[in-house]
């Protein structure tokens, strides 16, 4: 059903939940302060467009939905998006399919834009418009379109987003939506056709593979985090290598990342807990925080409120 939604979030958890509609995303907000994010979602016939406007820096581990390819356009404004450790340049777009998870991070306020569409749809039209040679590399791939092609895609995207705000009903009509979708398909394929490939165009290097497995390991530990040494053993790399990869992809070392991640998990637990029966001490312990006083002050610094405040406002 074509249409659009625009939502504003003041809670990390709600934002995190909303992001799941687009792709499997694990979110760790890295900077402190009042959380605020806006999500604009435009649902076309086969494609959907998602725009995010975030105030705080964050790390997101992204796995697109199974049959979809997720395209990331250059950010608007001054914010930077780091894709698998390298900044997304203003003259490139990235395509990403489900065979690989990627860490995407920002270092401050960011206005990002994505298009997701079925891989089959892109291949069908790509081959029709360019020829049988058209292919979509699996995993993640950087494309460098001509500036004309990229401008066209970018303007079309922004026009569509603007229309969804000013004339939301127009984009609920099938024919109008089909027109937009065909134009976007055309513009996107043109970007891919006229792409000048760089040396590291297909992002399939070892650090990415390792970091994908890194996140996989963390997911196997829903409460207490594994020890770094255990992670290194499982990954088959020395600690200094893990540290280097984390700095590259996460913008911080593994200890700091794990700490933040655990804080987020603890907060999520507090948000859905029963305030009458839960003790903050227990939740803190469950997620590996033994020094209670330290936990409380870190928590307050990170989230701008005390653990008890979160608990009191818990949703049931």
């Amino acid at each position: 059903m074509p249409g659009s939604t625009a939502s504003v979030f003041s809670e990390r958890d709600f934002y995190h939940a909303a992001l799941q509609q687009d792709a499997g995303i694990e979110l760790v907000v890295t900077s402190q302060g009042e959380f605020r994010a806006e999500l604009i979602r435009l649902e076309l016939l086969q494609m959907h467009l998602v725009t995010g406007l975030e105030r705080l820096a964050r790390i997101a581990y992204v796995v697109p939905s199974a049959d979809l390819v997720r395209i990331t356009l250059p950010t608007r404004g001054n914010g930077s998006l780091f894709w698998a450790g390298a900044a997304l340049r203003p003259d490139e777009i990235v395509s990403h399919t489900a065979s690989l998870g990627i860490y995407e991070r920002t270092d401050g306020p960011c206005h990002w834009r994505t298009i997701s569409l079925p891989i089959a749809h892109l291949l069908r039209y790509g081959r029709a418009m360019i020829g049988r040679a058209f292919g979509l590399p699996s995993g993640a791939h950087r494309w460098r379109p001509t500036s004309k092609a990229l401008q066209r895609l970018s303007h079309l995207y922004d026009d569509a987003t603007r229309m969804s705000r000013t004339q939301p009903l127009v984009l609920t009509r099938t024919e109008a939506t089909r027109g937009l979708e065909q134009q976007l398909t055309d513009a996107l394929i043109e970007c891919m056709r006229a792409s000048r490939t760089g040396e590291d165009a297909t992002i399939g290097s070892r650090p990415i593979d390792v970091m994908d497995r890194f996140e996989g390991i963390l997911r196997d530990y829903p409460h207490r985090a594994p020890a770094i040494s255990d992670i290194c053993t499982a990954l088959g790399i020395p600690a200094r290598t893990l540290r280097a990869y984390c700095k590259m992809h996460l913008g911080m070392g593994p200890h700091q990342y794990l700490h933040l991640r655990q804080m987020h998990l603890a907060r999520r637990a507090l948000r859905i807990t029963n305030p009458a029966t839960t003790r903050i001490l227990d939740v803190a312990n469950q997620y590996g925080f033994s020094a209670h006083g330290r936990f409380s002050s870190d928590y307050r610094k990170q989230f701008g409120e005390r653990p008890s405040d979160t608990k009191r406002r818990a949703i049931r």
Binding site: Y125, A128, M129, A160, E175, A176, R178, Q182, Q183
Partner: protein, 315 residues
């Protein structure tokens, strides 16, 4: 019973519908008011028409009658471009049996057509020039001798003049028969020349693609169509389609499709009941999702806003 008619048009679609002998569609290429005129004379066997338009246009033509048809310009100057090839004003075209093509003009144009039932053309060819003038399967451009062409032009113009100023002469059977014979003779003289430009394989390929292009468009007569779907249907890459369209239309497929959608919008706006619909609804139904952009383009093309078209009474 011979007859004639003279008609002027201000709507390109009405004009195209009145062009004799084939199913035609026309896309006007200039801003401003379209004016077209058709003078038609029907003799016993021979049908002829003289047409003129005041602005460049793209015309698509498909031969559906079982007649031998020829076509030529009536004034010197830039001629038509048929399937990417310029037909000089001193040449004439023998329209093929499987004929279906796009032709475009780059400015105002006057042109002429004549047709005979195929069997009459055959007998006339044999009797007058001793050759078989059954229509070819593909279009042929013929370069007649100067004298032969001049005579045909003169006679054709004379018939047109009569239709406009003394139609009663055409209605007179005897006078008409004499004129018809003279025209047929002049036509056979022109086209029985051996000198003809053969179709190259590139041209044939081009025409094949444009035929498929046109079929795709006519299968979506009342709805919008776009490049990705079109490439998938026609089965050629966008680059090839773009080259062919530039040759046929003097513009790329995107612009052509957009003009076509604009034309559909204009027709819809003119036929709409203002009480029952809005400009936004009509535009959206044709795939125009960016309403501001649509209004600007529409005004630039037609010299009035879409709402003005909707408001004005049906012509």
């Amino acid at each position: 019973m011979p007859s004639s008619a003279v008609r002027t048009f201000d709507d390109p679609n009405d004009y195209a519908a009145s062009i004799r002998g084939s199913k035609t569609e026309l896309t006007a290429l200039s801003r401003g008011k379209f004016t077209g005129k058709i003078i038609r004379v029907d003799f016993n066997h021979l049908w002829m028409q003289r047409a003129s338009e005041n602005m460049p246009r793209i015309l698509h033509s498909a031969n559906s009658d079982n007649r031998a048809i020829i076509s030529f310009a009536t004034q010197p100057g830039p001629g038509l471009i048929r399937s990417g090839v310029e037909v000089r004003s001193d040449r004439l075209a023998r329209i093929g049996k499987d004929h279906s093509y796009f032709q475009r003009s780059s400015n105002a144009l006057s042109w002429a057509g004549m047709s005979l039932p195929v069997d009459v053309m055959y007998s006339a060819g044999v009797a007058i020039a001793g050759c078989d003038l059954t229509p070819p399967s593909q279009d042929l451009i013929v370069a007649p001798g100067e004298a032969a062409m001049a005579k045909l032009q003169r006679l054709h113009a004379a018939a047109g003049d009569l239709a406009e100023h003394a139609p009663e002469i055409i209605a007179n059977t005897e006078a008409a028969r004499g004129l018809e014979q003279a025209l047929m003779h002049a036509m056979v003289d022109c086209i029985s020349q051996q000198d003809r430009s053969p179709d190259t394989s590139a041209q044939r390929r081009h025409e094949k693609i444009m035929r498929r292009f046109h079929r795709a468009i006519s299968e979506h007569e009342e709805e919008a169509i776009y490049i990705p779907d079109l490439c998938a249907i026609v089965g050629v890459p966008e680059r090839t389609l773009r080259l062919c369209c530039h040759e046929s239309f003097g513009m790329g497929p995107k612009r052509y499709l957009m003009l076509r959608r604009m034309d559909l919008a204009r027709r819809a706006l003119r036929n709409a009941d203002r009480a029952k619909t809005t400009v936004t609804e009509i535009a959206a139904n044709l795939g125009f999702w960016n309403f501001g952009r649509f209004s600007l383009e529409y005004k630039a093309l037609y010299g009035e806003s879409p709402s003005a078209t909707l408001r004005s009474p049906d012509a």
